[in-house]
Symmetry: C2
Subunit: 489 residues, 2 copies
């Protein structure tokens, strides 16, 4: 029996059904499609997983990994399914591991300000459930994201300017390795200098180094007061200048988001807010902290904004409207998708640059994007030098859209930036990563990958391809195994 | 000629002198001792490096690595030499790479709020040199630490509560691999989700995975105002309760440090402050931000402190005294060392626990430490759950001191803590690390080590030993090279 072949796959599925129960492994067509295709992904491929496994605990994930290693079957982890770069596509088939039943909060350590949970906990649901402790988890990507995928893509969101990204909030991870071994990256102190930062290595590895089955997250104190304000500007450059000056004044704003006129139009049309906002370049501010601190931050920010040609800062009239406004911003992509023409597709992607270059790259990229004449908008996490383009298009317009997106990505690289600030590489940005880091740096990543996943079974084909970069002879000799074989290539 | 043997070492040195110049490689006895022994280390060993290399740039470090790999000679990086766990000791001899001549600030990107520099830049000197930009680098370990070593040990300091540790402030690293290849971990955006977090992997790896030759650091805005305040308490528990309540109130204090009565005595005796402080458990506060924000933080903190039996908050009378007070705290270890009895030695070490456990572990550990009847003190980064014990002792008292330290370390582990919050593992805490993480997790670290440094030449003997944990068969087969040989064992 050839390992990795069709009969091996059938045997693997039978063995897993024997171990986990018939119902734990699905080969239903619709199920496979839901786990291999995504309407909002920049890339979709023809291949689908050949089965979906639904483990109930870490031990079952370990059993899956052992069987998959035995039969050389790829494993692709899946939680919220909201990623944008085909991070959970299955180019080599294999088994999708869906954490749907691993959605429990295991422990809330109120006094230590941390929480232990499983991968399929949704971040907004987490915050709802721990609200009574006075604590919250501050990383805020798209509403449907779940913690497992958030770890995998090292995501962030609008709160990143104040609170940082996933890398700053994960205390430890329980990880199932390719061969089924279970490790915990570290214990539960908020700070440690003990040994290699394995936690940080698995964050952002998109499931290619190990399968995360349990996560301890730090929590933050819910601010006494939060206020959401909006400032409109004649130009994007005025808005960007305002943001930079606020940063340099040391004002601890909780978030600053740049929205273009299209995005403001989408918010007006979505109707969740009580007033109609001008459809011009706009900054959304979130001020939070003690009541006196918030007043002070507003005072300084208002002064800087008006000095940069802003109409006055308008505040949401109450907390509810503030939330509605912020939600409107966070649901930007979904709102746009609901307003698109029938038959159209979406290309939503992000880059990040050193912060001083943000106004320039946004200006040029927006001009090029507008010249497409499509329903398209720009959203920026302006304090982080990170922004998003979302473009709706009909299939025949794809080449033109792709051209504009690639020009934006290359421009970011010319400015010493990155091809992705918070979405990850997945399938969609592998070529960009090679341009960004060069073959020597990617070779180091591949060396680490090979050392931990010698049969290349964990989410294969993501971040980089197998062997598209030649390792230097010395390292190859010492690390490459003669038994190394690649699944289904 | 046998590789790794004495004649190989001589040949390696000759070859390096040919490449870098005679003066670039020292074999002077005093030089060797200064690079292999440390008065303040918890551990010292008999072995010394056999030579010290003084490279002038990344290319020269690469040449050193190539020669050392060719002759199988260990390489030990060295910058400030202030580490405490024998992190730069040379148990297998080899060549110490001292960055003394790589001490330049390469670029200050004021508008991007980052700086590019070489490993031997001292952090306080950096802050002095960039002061005119209105920016500073917030990680503040012992005053003599240099950026290279700070990356190696993933250090932090008193500012960590507000600003985080080294992991939060490094944008990218230029790294020379064991075989001399040069890589850059990533480009210069403040945020990225592109590929594996190699930056984070090299931080805290103590030079065992690669030699860091260039560092880009994020900078923060110098706060408009900084005030230093002191509150004294009847018990350590009152001080700890105050700190926890301030955290939970969401007050963004810049730093909170716990000092015991011995440390306050040391500060009084050192004489850098204008008044005599009570020699009781004490919290040092640093408040910083906008002027109004600082006032607000002080108001809330004072209220909480007095509710927890504090004498009133006393403020340094001006900025200069504030700095003097904070410097006194930061130089605690050196002040104690200058006051110790002739012939005595020092054991200075740290652990960290989940924050709610800090009062308990400090109380028990301090009691046991006091029972030794020695000149000894406790200092805590209380917001991080991290604290230090410093004990002065005569050589014959070593066993008793060791016993107390080990009990503290084991206690931290029982509380789900770590054997080191900010000093690293070095030689001193290898056994602790095995207890903390277990053999499976260390095996993963070893697998990564072997993949990047197959001949085990980079700072060998640190963090973990070669082969003290058995890898599982599958991974061993795939990664272990038949050519793998270990230097000088």
């Amino acid at each position: 029996m050839e390992k990795g072949s069709c009969s091996a796959l059938c045997d693997a599925i039978k063995e897993l059904q024997g171990l986990l129960g018939e119902d734990a492994i699905s080969t239903d067509d619709e199920d496979l499609r839901e786990h291999g295709y995504s309407e909002w992904s920049t890339v979709n491929i023809d291949a689908l997983p050949i089965a979906v496994a639904y483990p109930r605990n870490t031990e079952e994930v370990s059993q899956i990994a052992k069987v998959c290693t035995k039969y050389r079957v790829p494993m692709v982890p899946f939680s919220g399914g909201s990623s944008l770069e085909a991070n959970f596509a299955a180019p080599f088939g294999g088994i999708c591991i869906d954490f749907a039943f691993m959605d429990h909060i295991i422990a809330v350590h109120d006094k230590d300000m941390d929480v232990v949970l499983q991968p399929a906990v949704q971040w907004m649901e987490l915050n709802e459930k721990i609200k009574h402790t006075g604590l919250f988890f501050p990383v805020d990507p798209g509403p449907s994201a779940k913690i497992g995928g958030m770890v995998g893509t090292s995501c962030s969101g609008t709160n990143a300017f104040r609170y940082g990204t996933m890398r700053d909030w994960v205390v430890n991870l329980t990880v199932v390795l390719s061969d089924g071994r279970i490790i915990k990256t570290r214990r539960r102190p908020r700070k440690t200098a003990a040994g290699y930062n394995l936690t940080g290595l698995f964050i952002g590895a998109e499931g290619t180094l190990g399968i995360v089955t349990e996560i301890t997250l730090k929590l933050a104190v819910i601010p006494q007061e939060t206020r959401v304000g909006v400032a409109t500007f004649p130009t994007i450059r005025d808005a960007a200048s305002t943001a930079m000056q606020i940063i340099r004044a040391g004002v601890p704003v909780a978030a600053m988001e740049l929205l273009d006129e299209v995005q403001m139009n989408v918010i007006n049309r979505a109707g969740a807010v009580s007033r109609r906002y001008a459809e011009v370049p706009t900054l959304f501010f979130k001020f939070s902290g003690t009541t006196a601190g918030v007043q002070d931050n507003i005072r300084i920010s208002r002064k800087i904004a008006t000095a940069n040609n802003a109409e006055d800062l308008i505040f949401a009239k109450n907390e509810e409207e503030g939330k509605a406004l912020w939600t409107a911003r966070k649901e930007a992509l979904w709102s746009m998708m609901s307003l698109r023409e029938p038959g159209s597709e979406v290309w939503s992607t992000d880059v990040a640059v050193p912060i001083s270059r943000l106004p320039e790259i946004i200006e040029i990229s927006k001009k090029e994007m507008d010249e497409l004449g499509l329903f398209a908008s720009i959203l920026g996490h302006i304090g982080d030098g990170n922004f998003h383009e979302s473009i709706m298009y009909q299939p025949h317009e794809k080449a033109a859209v792709e051209h504009v997106v690639h020009r934006m990505v290359n421009r970011a690289l010319e400015m010493e930036g990155t091809v992705t600030g918070e979405h990850g590489i997945g399938l969609g940005k592998k070529q960009g990563l090679v341009k960004e880091l060069g073959p020597e740096t990617i070779a180091v990543m591949q060396t680490i990958k090979k050392s931990l996943d010698p049969y290349w079974l964990l989410n294969p084909g993501k971040i980089f391809d197998y062997g598209d970069v030649t390792l230097t002879k010395d390292i190859s000799e010492a690390t490459a195994a003669s038994t190394l074989d690649h699944p289904q290539r």
